[in-house]
Amino acid sequence: MRWGVLQFPGSCDERDALHACGLSGEARLVWHEERDLGGVDAVVIPGGFSYGDYLRAGAIARFSPAMEAVAELAADGGPVLGICNGFQVLCEAGLLPGALLLNDELRFVCRQVELVDDAGERLSIPVKHGEGRYWAPQTMLDEIEAQGQVAFRYAPGQNPNGSARDIAGVRNEAGNVLGLMPHPEHAVDPLTGSTDGLRVFEAIAAARV
């Protein structure tokens, strides 16, 4: 499994993502100006503030050369994981449904939260964001729920940002593009309290092998 981790000006979690990916394969950084992903099997778009979050979070990053390559990889069925700002980028790029808005209480939240995946398994993973309120029109929410595209929800009572229907992460219709606000790459070592994030990376690697 060869992972590529995108790096934009303003990315800040690419090193942790690189480390997390390295635990289930090889991993390399891909600078945003690279139009060629160098034959990687999967891509992670990490957290941070790409292009300073100017205009809207993720709005400018989606036009980078590396994102053109990511869109092609995604269209070919290649796995793409967007974390936090990466999730915002994927929504702006139209590769995932919905949008991420300012947290309902206007506060930047930074804490460990419990998630429930679509198999009902619980994961303890940190969130740290100011614009993580998942939103989509009611009809779109009904649609993605009916099609099994909701990958993660905040556990009952733990929604940190006012996300619609407690949604923390969604995937595309084909299932190969996944975005979530919580940070699985920060939960891969017992030293930092949880290794549940590993499961997110391992599931992608296992599906690819």
Binding site: L55, I60, G98, A99, L101, D104, L106
Partner: protein, 78 residues
């Protein structure tokens, strides 16, 4: 060159926490009776071809899923 101003605001019905925060702060300053505050963005630009501005707004300046936009011509265009 056509000079234009683009006003972008959150769609009606979407919670706008910035607008709410401003609204809540106003009574403390003695401004009563202010409601429905919405905070958006304003972009000024000059364009060779004003015909393409709506497309530009939909693709970049606004996210049509969550935002409405209006394009105003400044000083009569030109």
């Amino acid at each position: 060159m056509a000079r234009a101003r683009v006003l972008i605001r959150p769609k009606e019905g979407i919670l706008d926490p910035q607008g709410k925060a401003v609204e809540r702060a106003l009574p403390a300053l003695g401004f009563e009776g202010i409601e429905h505050v919405r905070v958006g963005r304003m972009v000024e630009l000059e364009a060779d071809d004003a015909e393409r501005l709506p497309e530009l707004c939909e693709k970049l300046l606004a996210n049509p899923l969550i935002e409405d936009f209006e394009i105003e011509s400044i000083d009569g265009g030109g």
